[in-house]
């Protein structure tokens, strides 16, 4: 399953990158260079070969763990990735944890609260969080918290302060999504027959919620979170750029501007890999949580 998917993804990435108008050489040669210089560079990076050949060269190198060299940045792609990946992992991981934890808590509160005010606040928050675009929120937050209140730096990646606004930006939509799924799932499972018998056993509402309802509600939440790993990373791409943070997203956007094929390909492949791992982890988690799924897999 993973192999055919990986192959098709690599083909698609390669095609998209190479079908973009423009080429990296334009960004490399100085004004006044001769057409000969240009031809020499094109030959050096193998850009004169048919696309087919270029693709197989790339794949073959990749299998040997060689991502190639960046054309414009003139460094091994592996170095660039190694340098930027930790920043993205940190931001993505924090945003992911923030979305899950706060989302589950908010969703649970909104499902069990008896206060109309709390319920309305939660509903408003979920609606807002699911509709406001991330980049706009990022700009608002920069204006308010960074420029006006000066609580957090406008950009960069120094210290934990620089992480707060980016995590909040990505997390806002994530929290709303997780809260919504948690809320709906809790409302659904609460109507199931077995809940009546749980009450009939004399269990308290709190222990029924913690030991029975939440584990059930986590099934769809885990599914959606696994699917959204890619979305959170996608969010990280623009958010890194807006906040001027280093990371795969910033690297990707810069490399795209310069048509630095090897870098773009490597970045996209990393993102695709993350999405696939997310789906896989989601499946494993599903099976770990639900005996019926385990049975069906056998």
């Amino acid at each position: 399953m993973l192999i055919p998917v990986s192959i098709s993804i690599s083909v698609v990435i390669f095609m998209i990158v190479h079908l973009l108008p423009g080429d990296p050489i334009d960004n490399l040669i100085r004004v006044g260079s001769s057409p000969d210089d240009r031809a020499r560079l094109i030959a050096k990076y193998g850009l004169d070969q048919p696309l087919f050949t270029q693709y197989f060269r790339w794949i073959a190198a990749m299998f040997q763990g060689d991502f190639g060299d960046a054309i414009v940045l003139r460094r091994p792609v592996a170095d660039l990735i190694a340098q930027n990946l930790p920043y993205s992992l940190q931001l993505g991981g924090l945003a992911f944890a923030f979305s899950s934890i706060v989302g589950i808590i908010f969703g649970t509160i909104s499902a069990v609260t008896r206060s109309a005010a709390v319920a309305n606040f939660m509903r408003g928050f979920i609606l807002l969080g699911s509709t406001v675009p991330g980049f706009w929120l990022a700009l608002l937050m920069i204006l308010f918290f960074a420029v006006r209140l000066q609580w957090f730096p406008v950009s960069g990646a120094r210290g934990w302060e620089s992480l707060v606004l980016p995590v909040l930006t990505i997390g806002f939509g994530g929290v709303a999504l997780v809260a919504r799924v948690t809320r709906v799932a809790l409302m659904d499972v609460r109507r199931e027959d077995f809940v009546v018998l749980l009450h009939a056993k004399g269990l308290s509402s709190t222990s029924i919620l913690m030991r029975h309802l939440l584990p059930h509600a986590m099934l769809p939440v885990v599914t959606i979170l696994a699917l959204r790993i890619g979305w959170i990373l996608g969010g990280a791409v623009t958010v890194e750029f807006v906040f001027g943070r280093p990371g795969l997203g910033s690297l990707l956007i810069r490399a795209l501007g310069q048509r630095d094929y090897p870098v773009v390909q490597a970045c996209l492949l990393m993102l695709a890999l993350a999405v696939m791992i997310g789906t896989l982890v989601g499946d494993v988690a599903q099976a770990a949580m639900d005996p019926r799924v385990r049975e069906a897999k056998k």
Binding site: D193, L197, G202, P291
Partner: protein
């Protein structure tokens, strides 16, 4: 042990249940019969104090259990009774267990909660109870999940949960309706044994008159959210007073002969929104007169039984 008087239940402005009364002693089985929608489950939920789960509440009447008024009981106190002294068995065993948890812990928790047992003691008790319910290999069953078991087995697990803390009253809401015919008989026999062995008071809700005839001491017949006849089983079966009861008894197949087909009562059961005025049964009643559609009949007592019909006993 348990006495219900003039129970009335409402969901907001609608009142699907009213005027239900009965009493029950230890070692006795009370049958509540009626077609679907007659208010049997609402009665069961009222006794268990679980109406708020579906948004309903008791608006009149009283439920007295062991000298204690239940309708005004504070929730934390009620919770100790539920599963402790009041056990519940519900209709559909396929959906009445948590599918994500193993059987063992789902039963153990009752003894832990109400008898203060440790995990190990509770498990020993679970295995013992499963054994008395004739469940093969109780030890291995504890490590199985609900979806790996048959409906009949699951219903026994539900019964085990209800019995784990040695309750005084067991409320069984159509415990066999969702099961195969052969399994039905086994479960009914099991419940009957339990009443005798443990001196339980059993409220057995069913829509099957033949089950009542086999197992119950007393019976309450319900129709459109009201009790319309009650009394000792022999009296009710020997001389039913209410035309509805007569019709229900008439529906029991008498033998296994081929040409005898199952009869139903013509017409349909009214729902809360269209409970008829007067006697709710009058649109389907063969003996209905003008008064039946205008005045609600009161109970006419005869011996130990009573029927709510203007012509109780007069029509046969």
């Amino acid at each position: 042990m348990l006495e219900v008087r003039d129970l009335e239940v409402a969901f907001g402005p609608i009142a699907p249940l009213s005027g239900v009364s009965f009493s029950l002693a230890k070692g006795e089985t009370l049958g509540i019969v009626g077609e679907s929608g007659s208010g049997k489950s609402l009665t069961a939920m009222s006794i268990m104090g679980l109406l708020p789960l579906s948004g309903g509440r008791i608006t009149a009447g009283s439920i007295i259990f062991d000298g204690q008024e239940l309708t005004t009981l504070a929730e934390p106190v009620y919770r100790k009774l539920r599963g402790g002294r009041l056990g519940l068995i519900t209709q559909n065993p396929m959906t009445s267990l948590d599918p994500l948890q193993k059987i063992g812990p789902q039963v153990d928790v009752v003894a832990k909660l109400h008898l203060g047992m440790t995990s190990r003691e509770a498990r020993a008790r679970t295995i013992e109870i499963l054994g008395t319910l004739r469940i093969p290999e109780p030890k291995t069953i504890c490590d199985r999940y609900p979806h790996q078991m048959s409906g009949g087995m699951k219903q026994r697990i539900v019964i085990a949960m209800a019995l784990a803390a040695d309750p005084d009253v067991l409320v069984a809401d159509e415990p066999t309706t969702a099961l195969d015919v052969t399994v039905q008989a086994q479960i009914i026999r099991l419940l009957d044994d339990l009443v005798k062995k443990r001196d339980l008071a059993l409220v057995l809700i069913t829509h099957d008159m033949s089950v009542v005839a086999q197992t119950c001491d007393k019976v309450v017949v319900m129709y459109a959210g009201r009790a319309i006849e009650h009394g000792p089983v022999e009296d009710i079966f020997h001389a039913p007073q209410h035309p509805y009861t007569q019709a229900l008894i008439g529906c029991i197949p008498k033998g296994l002969s081929e040409d005898e087909h199952l009869t139903g009562i013509p017409g349909t059961v009214p729902t809360v929104v269209n409970y008829p005025k007067g006697c709710a049964f009058h649109p389907r009643c063969k003996a209905a007169q003008a008064i039946c559609s205008t005045d609600r009949p009161g109970f006419v007592t005869k011996g130990q039984s009573a029927a709510a019909c203007h012509f109780a006993g007069a029509v046969q």
